[in-house]
Structures are given as C-alpha cells and as structure tokens.
Symmetry: C2
Subunit: 406 residues, 2 copies
C-alpha cells in the first residue's frame, strides 16, 4: 500500500486495523464510503462490538465539480492534516482528533463526528446553536492569533508559511471568488431570473475596484494560517459542540477571509429565510437569531483575540498605543469585505449554497438570491469604511426591510 | 572541496580555474581577498595575460558587526545567487553576471565590477550620476513588477516565495530597523550629542504607532521579491553604468521597502552635506541634485511600472478602473514610510552610514544627524497621507531651510 491508489472499502478496513490502540485485534469492522466523491473518499469504519468508529479521509487526485473533472494535488491531504494538527494543538475541543496521516496514500485518519450535523443543514432546518458564537469566536481567535506575527515566533512563522504554500487550492479561490463572479464567465451558475442583477455587478465600477483590492489582499497578505474555506459546510455541530473540519485550503492569508466566511454563510442563510420560514413572525425571529449570532461571533472573536494579544503578544513594537485598535479596525473591515465577496460568489458563481438553492419556490428563491446579492455587494462597498460590526448587521436588516432590488 | 570550508586565496584560484570557458588553461592567475570580512570572503581572481577578472564571493557562517559575532545561515548565499539570477533575467544590464553558484561552498562566482565604485563613496566624493535615476527606476520597476502578482503567474509566484523564505536575515532587519531604534536598546549606536533626540523618539507615540504599522507590513506583505537591502552601499556605479549587488536579504515583502531604501540613502547624503559641502552654494547645488534624483527615481519607477503593468499585467481583475492609481498611491506611501524608517536607524541604530559618520567636524556631524532624524521621523509621520513624491522632497527641503531641531 505504499504507492498511491484509491482505497476500496475492504482496504480501508485493513488500513484501520493496523492503527495502534484503536480497535480490538481481530474484531469485526464495517466500512462505509460516505463522501460525496467530488474531492475525497471518506470511509467510516465501525467496530461492531463496541460501536467505536473512525473516519478515513483520502484525497482523490482530481476534483469533480458540476460534472467537470480536473487534476488536483494530493499534497492537499498533507496540508489538511498538518493544519488540523496545528489547530488541535490550539483548540483541541473544536476540531476532530487526527489519529494518523499517511503521505503516500494522501490519507488522514480522524475522529468520527457522526453525532454532529453539518451546520448548514442545521441552519436550513431552523435550529439554533447558542454556543456556536463562543465556539467559533474562540476557534478564530486562537488559530489566527497563534499562527500570526502577533502570537508566534516570527521566524518560525515564516518557516511554517513555507509549509502551507498551497497554489492549486488558492487558485480555486482566486478564480471562483475573486474573478469569475465579476464577469460573464462560463463557470458561473446564474439563474435566468437574476441575470439582470449579475449584469449590474459586471458594470459596477465602484464594486470592481473594491473586489480588486480584496483580491490583492488575498494574494499578498500573509497574516495568519487560515482555514481557507470556513463556510457552514465545514462545520460539524450539535448543541454542546462545534467542530471545524476540512482545512485543505489552508494557507497564510488575511485573517478577515476566515472570519468573513463564517459571517457570509450566516448571512446567506439570513437571505434564504425568504424560502424557509413559515411566516413573517418566524422569519423575523430566525433572522434576529442570525444577526445576534453574527454580532456574537465578532464580539467573541474580538474579545478573545485582544485578550490573547495582551497576554501572549510576542512583539514589543506592537504594544505601541493605538496599534491594537488600528489592527482590529482593519480586521473588521477585511472581514466585512470578504464576507461580501463570499456571498456574491454563492449567488452568481460556480458553487452555490443549499440554503438558497434548495428553496423550491422560484419566486422565494429569486428573492433570497437578490437579497444575498444586495447584502454582499453593500458589504463589499462598505468594507473600507466600517467601524463596528453593527454596520454589517444594519446592511442585512435594511435589505430585509426595504426589499432587495439590486 | 565538497564540504564547506572558507577558501584560501590559493584555493580560490584553483576553484576559478575549473570554471569552463573563463580563463586560458594553465594561465597565470592572481587572487586577492578584498572583502571587509564581516559577512563574506570576496576574492578577486585576475588573469595576468588578459587582465580578465572575476569575483568569488563566499558566505561565512557568522556575521561580525561592531566586534560582535553571531552564527548566520550559509543559505543566504543560495538566496543571493538565485535572486541575482532572477534579476539578471529581468534587467541583465543592471546586475553582475553570475557565472556559477556552489551550494556546498556557499560560493557565487560573478562578474568583477572593479571599474565601478560603490555609490555611497561616489556621493560622498560629490559626484553626480545623471543616468542613475533612470537605471534604478528601471531596476525597481522590472524586478518588483515581474516577481509580483501583477506581472508573474500567481501560482508560480507562491512557489518562488517559498524559495525566498529568509528568516535569519529578515530578523536582522526586523530588529535593527523596526525595533531597536525605537527603544533604549544595547545594540543602538547613539552619539552623546544627540541623545536627547533619541529619547524624544522613544516617547513619540504617534511615531511609534506608524513604526508598528510599517513593521507589520514588513512582516506580512508578500508583494514582490525584494532586494531587501538596497542602500547606496549595495550599488556599484560609474557614469554610464549602474549595478545592483548583494541581494542576500532578498525575500517577498512590501515593494516600498526597496524603493524607500534608495530614497533614504539619497536623503542621508542630503543631510550629510552639512559636513561635506565646501560652502553654502555648493551645498545647495548638491542638495538640489539629490532631490532632483529622488524625484526622478520615483518618476522613472512609476512610469516604468505603470507601463509594464499596462502591457504585461497578468490579472484581469486588476484592470478595474482606479485600482492602478490606488496601488501606486499606496506604493508611494509605503516608500515614504520605509524611507523614513531607514533613515532613523542609520542615525540611532546599530549600523550607521559613512556619509554621516565620516564627517570629522563634530558640530557638522551633529547637524547632519539631527537633520537626518528630522527628515526620517517626518517621513514616517507623513507616510499614510502623502500623495506625491514632492511631499517627501518638501520634508527634506524644509529641514534644510529651517534647521533641524527635532
């Protein structure tokens, strides 16, 4: 098994059996491939006698998206595994445990989180997660602070950066988030009902300038080791636990890109309430829950981050009066800008979100898409001016109150 | 010779003899070690019969500065050699040709530039170099543009960045430029006559905030492959030729750091005219030459850079209206800020410049130091507001006209 080949279910069992101290010798193991087959094989191995289970995640040497297939580096399995291990060192309670990593097979053996649900599904079902904001705020604060020049030895940070140069997966982001949605690209996935709104995007010079500025930050600003794809589909959740998974897009980039991804996906669900809420009252209530969560995510993040900085800052010069405030304001601005970019691409770009796409009522889906675009573009336009998280919430609330004509 | 050892003059000859197509077989070669012995051995090998000569530059495994010695990676020889080769690919007329690089010996064999002088010495001697601004503007524009996300394949840029992670030499800059001068550090080298001015620096909150912002950019902004140490001691010059040498500090950082280094060293010489000019008239004349050169360096850089961008830009999104202007304004601001930081450290930090330190008249030297500090701190304070290069020149001119009380 020392050269790469995609595992069969039987081979996955054999592999799992060889990991020390996991299963009883000779015990009865069942294997099930539960991945969506786009990028990875995902095997759940269960021990019949104990009910104990683990996940084997194996990278495939190609990506399948909307029928297309293109080759993709297996090195992303190393990046994912190393990022998970770094995250586990910082916030062990918020990521799956990694039992083993096999470079040859591009295979990570990790904790099974089947008792959690994917957060995107949880939100679509209308669930509320009162602990989420504290959890994800802590995740963001610890992973971003301790991998940055604020909280990590600055020479070690440079060397770590070198292990997370991730050209192929960054390229996906650069194309699908920071380019294609802003032109009439073949990869885009635009419903005929909102074609006019997409065309307005492409002609909006003020917006295109802000997108260029955000793209440039994504390309050049090596602030911290990002998760790189922190949407609600990368979060496993249950009422008392939050687990961030799938950091294969990890690289050194602008912190606001991760924070913005979380907020964008909450706002996409906010817009999607056009289709999911039973009535106006429950819609308002769920939206209020989401905006409160957005506020709490930022507040928890900021409080944690400032506290870590004050207690564990490694850089004397960065204690200059005013610098922390300056830094946090810029972080908020980046967050709002990247949140906007993440929303726009989920409406007109290649990969949409189930929150909106699964709305069957065509008119409600169109309203949700236009609202998401309105919030997204307004966030992008506002990004270099905002000074509080309330301004992002106001953008969303206004879009919901006044309609969503782009 | 396959393991590292410092070469003797005789060994340097033997080494040179083995390089193909350089010298006649069996010809008479002379070797002279001409380095200052701080960081490197530098051998000039001359062929008696033809007068042909080359340079062998070998990194030493330690650095000696002001009597101290600390270990230093030999990998800097690889970085220097690879950076020179990249620069030669872009502006062959502006760097020494590299004949060979030997990783084991940390040795670069390159063109001898003995017909040039070190520019710092040329300026101290009062020479003028009318072609310099065009040359260095072109060097900066080409090397910065074509290694950045503006002009280089963006995935290849990431991989190239990985080859120029340079923790040890970056650490020297981080300490000596962006930290020690702004506190009462042991490494500082402050003349008693200006102690009061240094103490004012350390208490200047507005200044310390700007220094923190600049330091953060140096740590995180991976815009382009910098030379990293582009002062007038890294430039060989004669009236019709400019050659940039010694890129061992090369790494991916903010472009303004290289441009600012050039301008800072012209401004240090501007201040040093307190000691060198014979009379007020010649002082004014030479300062006018220097400020004109500063303006021309920036203008040449900007014109070249914009033209390269318009003709060779690789990024569609960056053609958004207004983005190029936004980018150039930020570049100018960074340039002014880094120029200021480079000046301050040359007055109160560890390593000074001969332009000022060689002034024998104590009062004139003090005036030069105070003027350099005045220009440097004013540049740092102004950096996030400036919109034209004339503002930097006005800072210098004002300091010369009104005196230089800090």
């Amino acid at each position: 098994m020392s050269t790469y080949h995609p595992l069969s279910e039987a081979q996955a069992i054999e592999y799992a059996r060889r990991i020390p101290q996991l299963f009883q010798p000779g015990s009865d193991l069942a294997s099930q491939e539960i991945g969506d087959g786009n990028l990875n094989l995902v095997f759940r191995i269960t021990e019949a006698a104990t009910g104990k289970s683990i996940i084997l995640k194996q990278a495939l040497p190609y990506a399948k998206v909307v029928g297309e297939s293109w080759p993709l580096t297996l090195d992303r399995a190393r990046i994912e595994s190393e990022a998970l291990i770094i995250e586990e060192g910082l916030v062990p309670e918020l990521v799956p445990h990694v039992y083993a990593y096999d470079a040859d097979l591009a295979l990570t053996v990790m904790e099974d989180l089947s008792d959690h649900v994917i957060m995107r599904r949880g939100l679509i079902e209308g669930n509320q997660y009162p602990l989420f904001a504290e959890h994800i705020g802590r995740f963001l604060a610890h992973t971003l602070f301790f991998t940055s020049d604020l909280g990590k030895n600055q020479q070690e940070k440079k060397i770590q950066l070198g292990r997370f140069i991730n050209p192929e997966l960054c390229k996906i982001t650069e194309d699908l988030i920071f380019d294609d949605p802003y032109r009439d690209a073949e990869t885009n996935n635009i419903e005929a009902t909102i074609r006019d709104a997409a065309e307005q995007l492409w002609a909006d010079k003020e917006l295109l300038l802000e997108v260029a500025i955000l793209r440039n930050k994504f390309l050049t600003q090596a602030q911290a080791l990002l998760h790189g794809d922190l949407h609600t589909g990368s979060i496993f959740i249950k009422p008392d636990s939050t687990k961030v998974i799938d950091p294969e897009f990890a690289y050194y980039g602008p912190m606001g890109f991760d924070i913005g991804a979380v907020l964008a996906n909450l706002l996409l669900n906010f817009a999607a309430q056009e289709g999911w809420s039973k009535d106006e009252e429950s819609r308002s209530a769920y939206r209020a829950y989401l905006t409160q969560t957005i506020k709490d995510v930022w507040t928890n993040f900021e409080e944690n981050f400032r506290a870590l900085w004050n207690e564990n800052g490694v850089d004397r010069v960065f204690t200059a009066p005013g610098f922390q405030d300056y830094y946090m304001t810029n972080l908020l601005r980046d967050t709002v800008g990247f949140a906007g970019a993440k929303m726009v691409r989920r409406v007109v770009g290649l990969a949409h979100v189930a929150d909106i796409d699964k709305i069957e009522d065509v008119a409600a889906r169109e309203r949700a898409q236009r609202m998401a675009l309105t919030i997204g573009t307004a966030s992008i336009r506002a990004n270099r001016q905002v000074t509080t998280i309330d301004e992002l919430i106001a953008i969303a609330t206004r879009a919901a109150e006044r309609g969503f004509v782009l």
